[in-house]
Amino acid sequence: MMRDAWVIAKKDLTIEFRTRSGILSALVFALLGLVIFYYAWDPTAVASIDLAPGVLWVVFTFSGLLGLNRSFAIEQSERAIDGLLASPASRSGIFLGKALANLVFVAVVQIVAIPALVLFYNFPIARIAIPLMGILLLAAIGLCAVGTLFSSMAVNTKLAELLLPMLALPFFVPIVIGAAQSTAKLLSGRPAIEAMPWLKLLLAFDLVFVLGCTLAYPFTIEE
């Protein structure tokens, strides 16, 4: 199963690397988001550092949605998904591979967006770099598990990519709240222990939904 997942992920990332259309639009979207959010508040009333965690996680979520939408859309042309399903790869392997490719996609967007956040919002990255990486990873795993499943469902509906945000965003609520709160706690220099309940919440979310979505995926593709 893990080998299948790896092969599928490599296939998706190769397509993404050769076309670069999805990742470029997500990157530009993330950068634009950072800039636009800055002007949505009065900078004399709210310090940019207070905005930063919220902006980071909203941009993270929405740019993630862009990648998730593409994940199964690329399998729609010429019914490529049928080929995938007919291949000897296991169903859960296909799901985990897709989710893994999305995880890499989200990570690449963050690798560019975080330095931009540091630059634009004067974000003191050095102080919290390592815990922030942990929060990012936990949040991205949950986001990709749920998002990949709903992406596979949304492409087969009449609404196609319009449906994904409607289905996925309520599921991202605990992720965004947990990640933004723990980031804010760390930023304000509170002891790390205060961020622990939020991190536990993120970890529990990941465990439940990676397992739940992997088990649910086969039900969404039977013919």
């Binding site: 309520p170 599921f171 605990p174 709160q181 939020w198 439940v208 039900f219």
Partner: protein, 221 residues
């Protein structure tokens, strides 16, 4: 025929509860008449949770047994649940304005109810966006089950913010701290709303069955 019996019984029970709540139940000392909205708000919230719980159970059973009736049940219960959640979301702010001084506050339970509403509105939109019967049933069953898993997470995450909502009065470890007359009215309202849920569910379920018959006939032609 049977639909009539249940609907009329539910209508009478709700009317009786409302009359009792308005005319024969004493005012609460601090909140005055505003408190009477509880006899709508609390039972509507109970029915919403009941409805969504049953959606999850019917969804899981559908994926196991593949009986179309379970899918129709889940579809009907989700829709009725959204109606009752809407009632909760309307009556809550109406009470909140005189008592809390604001229609809306980002309190844990308000936020949870709002997101419940979003999840199951999404569920209904998902159903509307798929024509194929089997696919619609499987997709919505997956969402119905995952939605139930999501609820504790949303609850926990919004609860870690502070909560303003009144604590449970009836279902708590010690004895209910409500005067007898109010307690009777409240229990009556729970009972009559559950009856109302059953009546709505029955009507909606029958509609779903008839629709499937018509669609099957149209497909056969």
């Amino acid at each position: 025929m049977k639909t009539w019996v249940l609907s009329i019984a539910a209508a009478l029970a709700v009317a009786g509860t409302v009359i009792r709540a308005i005319f024969f139940t004493p005012f609460e000392v601090v909140q005055g008449p505003a408190q009477k909205i509880f006899y709508l708000h609390a039972p509507a919230a109970w029915v919403a949770f009941l409805a969504f719980g049953l959606v999850a159970i019917a969804s899981a059973l559908y994926l196991w047994l593949r009986d179309e009736r379970l899918d129709r049940f889940a579809e009907s219960s989700a829709e009725v649940g959204v109606v009752f959640t809407t009632v909760v979301l309307i009556t809550g702010p109406l009470w909140g304005k005189p008592i809390w001084g604001t229609y809306w506050t980002w309190d844990a339970r308000l936020t949870l109810t709002l997101f419940l509403w979003f999840i199951y509105v999404g569920y209904i939109v998902l159903r509307g966006a798929i024509d194929d019967h089997s696919m619609r049933a499987r997709y919505s069953a997956v969402l119905g089950i995952l939605g139930a898993f999501l609820i504790p997470f949303i609850h926990l995450s919004v609860y870690l913010f502070r909560t303003l909502h009144p604590m449970p009065i009836v279902l708590k470890p010690s004895a209910p701290s409500l005067p007898g007359e109010m307690l009777t009215t409240l229990l009556m309202s729970f009972l009559s709303f559950t009856l109302l849920y059953a009546a709505f569910l029955q009507a909606r379920y029958r509609l779903a069955g008839e629709r499937d018959v018509v669609e099957a006939a149209a497909d056969a032609r």
